[in-house]
Amino acid sequence: MNALLEKSDQIQREFDEALAQANDRDELERVRIRFLSRHGLVAQLFEQLKEIPSEEKPSVGKALNILKARTLERFHEKKRTLERPPGDVGKEVDLTLPGRPRPIGTRHPITQTIDEIRQIFASMGFSIAYGPEIESDYYNFEALNFPPDHPARDMQDTFFLSKGKKVLLRTHTSPVQIRTMERQRPPVREIMPGRVYRNEAVSARSLVSFHQIEGLYVDRGVTFSELKGTLVAFAHQFYGKDVQYRFRPTFFPFTEPSADMHISCFLCKGKGCRMCKYGGWLEILGAGMVHPHVFKYVGYDPEKYSGFAFGMGIERIASLRYGVDDIRMFYENDVRFLRQF
């Protein structure tokens, strides 16, 4: 057997003995210097490794490495024992003691809801786009086929920023549709989340500012049937496979035909409860085929292209989903509330 290996064993034994006898930090430090310092006994063994025949080097080197690792490990273990707080007397560690705490953060529930919806549409090939919150009358209304002095403008109470009412806070995310189509040629497949503003009294069910997510798909030959298919696929992903759905005619100036989509209430399974106002259905989004007038505003040929758009209110979706009765909770930002998500 190699002499170096014997020496290694011996050092191991001496180290164990010395370590066992070290009862305070000073004694422990002396053990460290004797065995583990830069010129200590273990280091010296490594020095001697240079002198042995090269065919033995790998096996001996490996043994020395093990020695080094073991001595270090035991040294640190002993060090921890000596440094243990005075209250901890026994050799046994109480493993029920709490771990050292780390702060926990979460994303806001509204952000989480947007992210989840985005991801579903991303999997269908939708990109993400954003637009400004301060908008012009043109993008918010005119190009979306809201004629001036038309009662349709009353559908959305508006905050105005300029006396001439040309600059306003956008009332929906639909102006991003116009901006997106102005920027690119079809095919367009975009999802557009953001904040919107409505000049309404604040209550448990309505806020002056909330989030919407808008979707737009324009290409050759896009049909109403496909609008349904896409939104049903979304609803099945987001609300579950068993959910029932229906589409109902409604009116939006910028789509025609326009529809509201309802799903069977996921709380009562359609039997009727407070959340669905005992109707068994929940309205989850508005949608429709892009109106030819809108295409004309952005310079698309309505004979060549067709498309659909949809939009949904995030606060409503989140409050239904999480059972939050008062949507003001989302903006109070009570950390005890936020941590639940």
Partner: protein
């Protein structure tokens, strides 16, 4: 708006039950929000016959009656002075809910019970009009007509058993604002035709034209004006059936004349106004715009200030009504009125809308006119009012209608390409089916060729203008839910699909690092303090002063959040928000208010720290957070996203909001601040704790963020570690020493750690000691001890010379 079930039956035959009708109208887009049976609340009220009335033995004002209610004879104690034997009365049976309590100041309902009143048993209640919520008379009991059948349900007797639908009318369908409009829509459901009643008039020999003149001076705003005169009427209460019809849909009965005009409006959708003919100077109607600043008192007694674009109905001398909005007090129907002039006109929608907005008056009439009223309905409605006046108020109808209608409406013709409709809907509806579907909406096929169908649009469908409108109608009649659902999987790869942004990465990182994301309101109260030279954007029509200004800094919305949490015992906060701030661009003044470019938006990231680093736990350190906790977080964040292209600059001119501030520069551009919230600001927000905040421009982070990553070879040679401690004047900054070390380190310094900072006796006054652990990393070859020593020497000399330092000896 409310629609009555029984009223609809006047115009169309149907057997749908209320729930069926509600559901099916909703599926056509005429949303029924709810419906209720107005007779339901009279469930336990019946017609009674007072057989006998005697005095109450213990109370002078009370009487004891024996009342036959059909099934039995009840003993009822009654306090009304007008009760008498032989009367037919409304009797509430035990268990009935009396709609209004006469003795309760608020008139709340109560449940009737068998009871003893002053020692005499009372087995029911004879009710007043007030108690039944049928009117305001509370002085005595309601006396029913003699022919009323004893024991019959009161609701049946009074014709109150009806169902009302509360419907939500979309902005495009003004034609639904009437019973005939809803009945026409029901043609789709029933296949039967809806129709208005035929007019039967007995006209006098005197002509209307000889007794009244109509001059339209503004035919653009007044497109049609039909007038009739009815003489010798008696103004009085309306018959019960008319009162019931109106009250069922929430309209108060005023008198027979006004009630008839309201009835006809709710029947036809055509607003009608009745003037007191004798109050019209010169027996003349003139329609023209007001003069700027004129005043006018409307029916509701309020004085209105007019504008020159407001269309007025005038007589020979004065204004008598605001066209399409409201009549005037000076010509309203009074108890003395005997002759009336009926106006049934058609006004231009957008003008009515502007007037209604300007005056803040939204009336049943203005709501209909601004959505567009069927111009062909005007003479019918005038005739209908005349007929009802004749029947109900006993008038003499003068011969003929004055009908000013200079530009006859051309009925719209729309061409439909069946192939186009099927292409857009994804359906295979045959041409025949299309014709059949549209016929149910009164669209008449006028021409048919190979690929074209041409339809004439009924005059009340002002929303149908072009092909796409017909395609929507087809889809509605066909049924949205009968259209198949289909998905294509033609994902377009010609453009990159961008789904993840730097925002997402920052959120993931910060939430992982224990920060809580918040979302603040961007509309805030006017800020008490602000960054200098920033002009906030104000909302011109705020609902509340709490949401009147757009935030110029995320701090404005985040500080109240911090305060809220402290108030609820949560002091240790680690918050962040990604949000938008707003301002007016520099140099933009009044004349650029209408331009979008003079408003600026910027996305920011806010980080807020307060309280302790952690909850105190026996095995973990806990202390109050300080500026360097925040600085460390920012450093970590920026290193992650910017690969070291940032630096901090001491910010001497502390802003009003933040003190001991550092500016952050990213790629040489100012990106924001970090520091401690100024005490003066904290006080204004009632904040006692120290708060550390940083607000950074997200766009700069995004631009600097390197998405493309490139591998750099790992070092093949061991690194060398050396520790150095310097004593310097306390005015010398760490930053200066660090840059001296790095400059002298010839690119070998891969790690520099300040592991000790000491001020005190051992270094003497005015001095401090900074100890650094350095790591040298050679890339070409192993660094020998001698080389390392030489490098250390060089560094020491550089720091000594550059910073006036001396090496601290061990």
């Amino acid at each position: 708006m409310k629609i009555s079930h029984s009223w609809l039956k006047e115009y169309i035959r149907f057997s749908l039950s209320p729930p069926q009708l509600a559901a099916r109208l909703s599926m056509l887009g005429l949303e029924v929000e709810r419906y209720e049976n107005s007779g339901a609340k009279y469930e336990k009220f019946v017609v009674g016959h007072v057989l006998e009335r005697s005095k109450h033995p213990h109370a002078d004002r009370l009487s004891v009656c024996r009342v036959d209610v059909g099934a039995e004879v009840l003993q009822i104690v009654c306090g009304a002075p007008n009760v008498a034997a032989g009367q037919k009365v409304a009797v509430g049976l035990p268990g009935a809910t009396v709609p209004r309590d006469q003795h309760d100041p608020q008139g709340r309902p109560f449940v009737l019970q068998r009871t003893a009143i002053r020692g005499v048993e009372s087995q029911g209640m004879i009710c007043s009009e007030y108690e039944l919520d049928l009117g305001d008379d509370r002085d005595g009991i309601l006396i029913l007509d003699e022919k009323a059948k004893v024991g019959r349900k009161l609701a049946d007797h009074l014709g109150l058993n009806d169902v009302q639908y509360e419907v939500e009318i979309t902005a495009n369908r003004g034609d639904w604002l009437s019973h005939i409009g809803v009945a026409r829509e029901m043609q789709v459901l029933t296949g039967r035709r809806a129709a208005l009643p035929k007019i039967r008039l007995k006209e006098s020999r005197i002509t209307t034209a000889s007794q009244a003149k109509v001059h339209i001076l503004d035919p653009k705003r007044c497109r049609r004006y039909a007038a009739r005169v009815v003489r010798g009427i008696r103004v009085g209460p309306s018959p019960i059936w008319l009162q019931n019809r109106l009250s069922a849909i929430g309209i108060r009965s005023i008198n027979n004349v006004v009630d008839i005009t309201n009835y006809v409006m709710m029947e036809t959708g055509q607003p009608v106004h009745a003037f007191d003919y004798d109050q019209l100077a010169g027996r003349t109607i003139r329609v023209r715009c007001a003069d700027e600043g004129e005043t006018f008192v409307t029916l509701d007694g309020k004085q209105r200030i007019l504008r020159s674009d407001i269309l007025m109905i005038c007589d020979a001398e004065k204004h008598v009504a605001i066209a399409g909005v409201m009549g005037g007090a000076n010509s309203e129907i009074s108890a003395e009125t005997t002759n009336v002039l009926i106006e049934s006109a058609n006004f231009e929608p957008s003008n009515i809308r502007r007037t209604s907005k300007y005056l803040g008056m939204s009336t049943d009439a203005s709501q209909r006119f601004e959505r567009g009223v069927d111009i062909e309905m005007a003479p019918y409605a005038a005739d209908r009012v005349a007929q009802l006046l004749m029947e109900i108020a006993g008038g003499e109808v003068l011969k003929g209608v004055i009908d000013f209608y200079p530009r006859k409406l051309k009925q719209a013709i729309i061409t439909l390409r069946p192939s186009r409709a099927n292409e857009l809907l994804g359906t295979r509806i045959s041409d025949q089916q299309m014709v059949r579907f549209l016929r149910r909406l009164n669209l008449r096929l006028t021409k048919r060729s190979k690929n074209l169908l041409e339809f004439e649009v009924p005059t009340y469908r002002l929303d149908l203008e072009e092909e796409i409108d017909l395609i929507e109608e087809l889809a509605r009649v066909y049924g949205y839910n009968n259209i198949e659902t289909e998905t294509r999987t033609t994902i377009e790869f010609s453009k990159p699909i961008v789904t993840r942004t730097v925002h997402d990465e920052i959120r993931t990182y910060l939430s992982g690092a224990g920060f809580q994301e918040i979302l603040g309101f961007s509309l805030i109260p006017p800020p008490k303090v602000d960054f200098p030279s920033i002009r906030a954007v104000e909302v011109l029509n705020p609902v509340t002063s709490e949401a009147a200004v757009l935030r110029t800094s995320l701090l404005h919305s985040a500080l109240p959040v911090a305060k809220h949490n402290w108030a609820h015992g949560e002091r240790d906060l680690r918050l962040y928000e990604i949000g938008t701030v707003f301002s007016r661009r520099n140099g933009s003044n009044g004349d650029k208010d209408e331009e979008l470019e003079s408003y600026a938006e910027e996305e920011r990231l806010l980080i807020l720290l307060s309280g302790r680093t952690a909850k105190p736990q026996f095995n973990a350190g806990s202390r109050e957070v300080d500026l360097f906790d925040l600085k460390g977080e920012i450093e970590a964040l920026l290193s992650k996203f910017n690969l070291d292209k940032y630096r901090f600059i001491s910010y001497d001119s502390a802003t009003a909001l933040i003190e001991s501030a550092l500016a952050v520069e990213i790629n040489g551009t100012y990106a924001g601040l970090l520091g401690k919230l100024a005490k003066s600001v904290a006080e204004r927000f009632d904040i006692e704790d120290e708060v550390f905040v940083s607000e950074l421009n997200l766009e700069l982070i995004e631009q600097a963020h390197q998405r493309e990553k490139k591998y750099r070879a790992l070092p093949r040679f061991p690194s060398v570690k050396r520790d150095l401690a310097f004593v310097v004047d306390s005015s010398i900054s760490h930053e200066r020493i660090e840059s001296a070390i790095r400059a002298a380190g010839e690119g070998f310094i891969s790690e520099l750690l300040l592991f000790d900072l000491y001020v005190g006796e051992q270094v003497g006054p005015g001095k401090k000691s900074l100890a650094y652990a350095l790591k040298f990393q050679p890339y070409e070859k192993t660094m020998t001890d001698a080389e390392a020593d030489a490098l250390v020497k060089k560094i020491v000399r550089a720091v000594e010379e550059g910073c006036g330092a001396r090496l601290r000896s061990e």
